[in-house]
């Protein structure tokens, strides 16, 4: 376990040094703050939506685009990049198992992402508090859940990035494949699903088929988790209808995200240990 921690500490130090931590935190904070101040303006105060709920809806939509992208950017060259730079050769001559290298890197990268999310989005809450908005307990719980699930979504994409990184021959390919995956999971999948639903007109597609299709995409799991999990948010996001037909409990959704992390991570570990360098 010591080896894992050593590698984690080194990854975090490197991320701080090459300003990954700073860049990700600033990016998320800047967007969260601008959404806080600009995003709540059009809704005004007369629609009955509290500012925190508005922020949760807009921030989670932002997260779906941004967090997977940041996660893939950090993770896509974790293995293939170190191989190309030649540092992996030396590392693997040390008494560490390859899975330890992978888990160590994973913990380090996840810590970086968690830090950026907590502080970036935390800035939004701090700004709300500073401007004197009131906050109830439910809203705050929803916000904390949103941050937690965002980190979990990041974990999914870090694991996916590692898998790609363990499979491909060079860094360029890894980057290309990761961008492709990002487009597919974040944009194309939902559009295709929407098209399918429209074409089907509710004839053949049952609720369970829809559930399965939503569970097959981690970003949809995340969306369901945040936009339907809390009554207020759900009503405001316009997801109440979907929430009614997709009958998945929070527990199942979290478990699904955990599986989405674990399976690519195990697959990455297997491909990495078979790899020769």
């Amino acid at each position: 376990m010591n080896a894992v921690l050593t590698i984690t500490a080194k990854e975090i130090r490197q991320a701080v040094r090459n300003r990954w931590v700073l860049a990700a935190t600033l990016l998320l904070a800047a967007l969260a703050l601008s959404l806080t101040f600009l995003g709540s303006a059009p809704s005004g105060s007369n629609v009955g939506a509290r500012p925190l709920d508005v922020i949760i809806v807009s921030l989670s939509s932002l997260t779906i685009f941004l967090v997977p992208l940041i996660a893939l950017l950090i993770s896509h060259d974790a293995i293939v990049g170190d191989m190309e730079r030649g540092t992996m050769l030396l590392l693997l001559s040390y008494p560490v198992a390859r899975w330890q290298v992978l888990v160590g890197k994973f913990c380090g990268h996840l810590a970086v992402l968690a830090f950026a999310t907590c502080f970036g989005y935390g800035a939004a809450v701090a700004a709300l508090l500073a401007t004197g908005s009131e906050m109830d307990r439910e809203g705050l719980a929803a916000f904390i859940a949103m941050i937690g699930s965002s980190v979990l979504l990041g974990a999914v994409f870090i694991a996916i990035g590692y898998w790609v990184s363990a499979l491909v021959r060079d860094r360029g390919t890894a980057a290309g494949v990761c961008i492709g995956l990002w487009l597919l999971l974040v944009l194309v999948y939902d559009m295709a699903l929407l098209g399918l639903l429209v074409l089907d007109r509710g004839q053949n597609m049952s609720g369970s088929v829809l559930n399965t299709l939503l569970l097959l995409n981690p970003t949809d799991i995340y969306r369901l988790l945040n936009l339907t999990g809390f009554a207020n948010v759900s009503a405001f996001s316009g997801m109440a209808g979907l929430a009614g037909s997709a009958t998945l409990s929070v527990r199942i959704l979290v478990a699904a995200l955990a599986l989405w992390t674990l399976i690519p991570l195990i697959a990455a570990s297997l491909s990495f240990s078979r790899r020769e360098l």
Partner: protein
Amino acid sequence: MTSTVRIAEVGKWYGRIDAVSGASFELGQGEMVALIGHNGAGKTTLMKLMLGLIHPTHGSIRVLGENPAAGEFSARRRLGYLPENVSFDATLTGRETQRFYARLKQEPIAKAEQLLDVVGLGAAADRRVGIYSKGMRQRLGLAQALIGRPQLLLLDEPTTGLDPELRQTFYDAIQRLAAEGTTVLLCSHALTELEERAGRVIIMNRGVKVADGSLDELRRLAQLPTRIRLKISDLAPGEVPAWLPTSAPCRRLNGHVIEIDAPPEQKIDLLRRLTAAGTPVEDLDVMSPSLDELYAHFLRSAERPR
């Protein structure tokens, strides 16, 4: 003699290319072995096989009592490796890098940091590796390989980029380790450097081991002539000394200097004749075949049957 590395009939194929085929040897405790051969001869592949970074297509490997191909790695605590063209994470400092590797080997951090002074990086220890020169990176590579008194050192081209003074310190350090029982396997192109130092030489050609033995054994096997160079003052142009037997070819290098290729067993006899003839010799050089020549010889004889 206990063996640290045992390699038996090992072959490694990349697709249809044989990187190594049918290599067998053992390395004993405290041995200092030079592994030589040109690029692509399979030297680096052998080292990677010993580290378990790649798996042999056939044959078996034991390193410090473990089978590296099966993923056993606890023996790597007692192993130091310096890869060819070593590279480090550019954002960390030399000291941080050294600490990181010491932690992975579970060795005392302070001792590992002292190694930075040994290789002459003490002053640059807190600078980032990214701005290190090639020579400095190489020194850091040596420092990490020496962490924790390894029982086996695998050094791939260890002296490239080192200045002569540091080369000397480096060889002194590893010779001390070898005297204490560390097995050292050195890959190098700098054959003259290895000549006086390596107790044993293994020559590889196209993945096949073509020679293995001490330098004297290889000289005996190769039967290469010893070169005797004489400076004779009153030698007429075109004249060949009368005492010279026909079996020893001789060349004239310039007006006064002739060079004789003497078969090893005739060497002493030739010198005796020379003194008996009373030739006015001004200067005399006797050169045993160097590692360079032996290497070239074994490569030629390995190529011939093909």
